[in-house]
């Protein structure tokens, strides 16, 4: 313990992409704690080339195509002294993994009356908007929001993916990370401190403003930031919030912003039925109704599958123009 306290804390920053920060965080955690292992299919192909070349087979486990069971293997290993990062690569594979995640990882601490802990991280990437059709384009986090016992994060900046992934690895509960591939090339300043941690359960105000609160999730953040810039030029001031953690949700930050602006636009790329926006809207309706000057607006993927043809797919996900229009509609 004293080692960590006495260690010099470099506060230098370095420019890197979201994907590089994600890999960097895993390298640092693997180096810091020998209980950390990475398990996944074709790890090098899905962005983990540096992990495979740096660590031996005892730390980086290449999995056969058995998503359900290797997820369960990660859980069993977590319950017996390791801290696995289970890489499920494509988010659609979360459905195969969902049985052990829901029935075992999320429940076992509770069902054993606290006798066991399950310190495991499940990662997956959300690919969409690039003609991969419905079976490879899912954003399935809403299904998992309905599961007690899980923590779910979806950071949008390089510094946050590094800090939140590290917090997830060091957390004693199961944490799901939904990474949006739209954010992979995004560059930003990232602290070089190997103990740079972003707390799970804390939202961030990306841009302070006074007219309209916009909450954007995952890849929607990029478009929302562009929209906020454009609207600022027209004199409309956006307060832009990134929940970063989807469960447990930091409603205090969102509620405080809505109390100030009285207007709320929610943007996310999951389907609109019972998604995170639904939950935020419900909580605002229950506990923040008096603050609202206008109805809440939700911009989400409609209740239709993601089509293959670009001609069709371009109509599925909310774009910058829709965000701008929704905000103006509330003014």
């Amino acid at each position: 313990m004293s080692l960590a306290i006495n260690k010099p804390r470099p506060d230098t920053m370095v420019q890197m992409t979201f994907l590089d920060a994600l890999v960097q965080a895993q390298i640092e955690e693997l180096e810091r704690d020998e209980r950390v292992i990475v398990m996944g299919e074709d790890i090098a192909v899905y962005g983990g080339g540096k992990l495979v070349s740096r660590f031996d087979e005892r730390r980086i486990w290449s999995m056969p195509i058995s998503e359900t069971s290797f997820t369960g293997v990660g859980i069993g290993a977590a319950m017996t002294g390791l801290r696995p990062i289970v890489d499920l690569s494509i988010a659609s594979f979360m459905y195969l993994a969902s049985d052990p995640i829901i029935n075992q990882a999320s429940k076992l601490r509770y069902m054993t009356g606290g006798q066991v802990k399950v310190p495991v991280v499940f990662r997956c990437c959300m690919y969409y908007g690039s003609s991969l059709a419905a079976q490879h384009s899912d954003r399935p986090y809403p299904q998992f929001l309905n599961v007690p016992g899980l923590k779910i994060i979806s950071p949008t900046s390089p510094a946050d993916i590094k800090g939140l992934l590290k917090s997830a690895v060091r957390d004693d509960d199961p944490v799901l990370i939904f990474e949006d591939t739209k954010l992979w090339p995004v560059k930003g300043e990232v602290p070089t401190d190997p103990d740079h941690l972003v707390p799970i359960g804390k939202a961030e105000i990306k841009r302070a403003g006074s007219d309209v609160t916009v909450v954007a999730i995952g890849g929607a953040m990029r478009l929302a930031m562009d929209a906020a810039k454009d609207l600022a030029e027209e004199g409309i001031s956006i307060e832009l919030i990134d929940p970063r953690t989807l469960k447990p949700l930091d409603m205090d930050t969102i509620m405080a912003s809505v109390a100030k602006t009285g207007r709320l636009v929610l943007v996310e790329n999951a389907h609109r039925v019972a998604n995170l926006s639904s939950e935020i809207a419900a909580l605002i309706a229950e506990e923040g109704f008096e603050s609202l000057k206008k109805p809440i607006r939700r911009l989400c993927a409609p209740d239709v599958h993601v089509p293959f043809s670009p001609a069709l797919e371009q109509h599925v996900f909310p774009g910058k123009a829709q965000i701008v229009a929704a905000v103006k509609g509330l003014m």
Partner: protein, 81 residues
């Protein structure tokens, strides 16, 4: 006849690329299969080969600029063999 140089697709999740360096300048001769530009994506920096032999006549994406995959980024005049 001119041949267009297209920003290639490198696999799932890579939807855009940034020119890190042009290896040829306008007016330079290039051979088919010769590296012509370095593109940086989220995963790596990769060389892109010329699709034709001829003269590089237009560059549509400057160094440091970013474009989606499948965008036209240059033209090669292959009539000047």
């Amino acid at each position: 006849m001119s041949t267009k140089l297209i920003l290639p697709k490198w696999g799932m999740g890579i939807e855009e690329g940034t020119v890190s360096r042009w290896l040829k300048a306008i007016g330079d001769r290039v051979e088919q299969g010769e590296p012509i530009v370095e593109i940086e994506t989220a995963k790596a920096i990769q060389e892109v080969e010329s699709p034709a032999s001829g003269v590089l006549t237009r560059i549509l994406l400057a160094e440091g600029e970013t474009a989606p995959v499948n965008s036209e980024i240059a033209e090669i005049d292959d009539s000047q063999r």
